[in-house]
Symmetry: C2
Subunit: 212 residues, 2 copies
């Protein structure tokens, strides 16, 4: 844990700003959490911080495909925050069933530690936003998940299959994630489905072993 | 320029979503624009995309230090977008007067190309947000600048002077940026001023040559 500088500024609640700085400094570690997909140009693996930035940008760019009345600022707020738990819990590859089984417990413990670095009122608010994202019940949370799932699909398509190829992912596994996109946005779900069909034609997916 | 996949999704305006995807794919390049400061742990240089993410997070965390009535969602929107011009214009080190002289022209040309990848209505809206940020006249733009200036100061303090030391920056040069922070947030300006005094005591700044 990086401790904030021991400085006192006139008119500023020292204890409170120190807690806020401790949180911001700690979240710097998200820049070192590597994801399975690469950048679009394939040059290196993507980290979770720059991924979060791109999701915020994409949510805004694709806002018109969210259900009517969706609060995009709220979506962006969730997307900026949602991956912070990966500082402790690591990135979980959505197609790894072993990793995914322990993910909720690992991420909950991470949320307990990380959001609690903030002053109490901000911890409660931030934690509630993360819980909302995880529960995927509000239209904002569903749209946030749609954006979160679509982004790596774009990266994989543009790198000739990328992580799908490297990790032997099947078309059906990806279509399962397309369903989640469709639940957040009908249009983006339709686009993702078409993208997966195209990727399949190009041979980017591993064929399930024949049962014959 | 990475061209979006040639796929057609039922019920989705192909031309429009293709333009939006071209923009999102192009902005992936911001992940490869390196800044002068490093991560807080000093392990590598920071890129402009992960920097933008952290600014969005910091704006939210420090929201209470913005002038009353500041729309933080609007601040976050500007911060998510403001560095995209660096894809073409590169990162300009704020203490490099030679680079800074040509910065407005380079960034304007970049904005002309990059935001124009979006459909016309979105180009106009995004461009207006960027112009607002650059003009630094609204309280939202001023607070966004305060956050943008504070973040690298934290990184430099936590790496024993970091880019200040490497690029022989003086205390007075940094105090000039502290002034900009104070114009966006009195409290964050006071904190930054105290941080710079502390950094000065620790010898992180280059002394101006004596005129004796």
């Amino acid at each position: 844990m990086t401790e904030p500088a021991p400085v006192f500024a006139k008119g500023v609640d020292h204890e409170r700003i120190t807690e806020q700085l401790r949180f911001v400094l700690e979240t710097d570690k998200l820049k070192r959490v590597l994801r399975r997909n690469t950048l679009i140009d394939g040059s290196r693996r993507e980290n979770a911080a720059e991924h979060s930035w791109q999701l915020a940008l994409a949510a805004r760019t694709f806002a018109e495909y969210a259900p009517k009345g969706t609060d995009i600022s709220h979506v962006v707020e969730m997307l900026v925050l949602h991956d912070i738990v990966e500082i402790d819990a690591g990135d979980t590859f959505v197609y790894d069933t072993h990793e995914s089984a322990s993910q909720p417990e690992r991420e909950r413990a991470a949320a307990d530690r990380l959001y609690a670095l903030l002053p109490g009122d901000q911890n409660a608010h931030t934690r509630a936003l993360w819980e909302e994202f995880e529960a995927r019940e509000t239209r904002e949370a569903r749209f946030a998940h749609a954006i979160d799932r679509l982004a790596p699909m774009l990266a994989n398509w543009h790198t000739e299959g990328g992580a799908w190829v490297r990790h032997r992912v099947t078309r059906d596994q990806v279509l399962d994630k397309v369903r989640i996109i469709g639940e957040g946005s009908r249009a983006l779900g339709a686009y993702a489905a078409a993208l997966v069909e195209d990727a399949d034609r190009r041979g980017y997916f591993t064929r399930p072993a024949s049962r014959g």
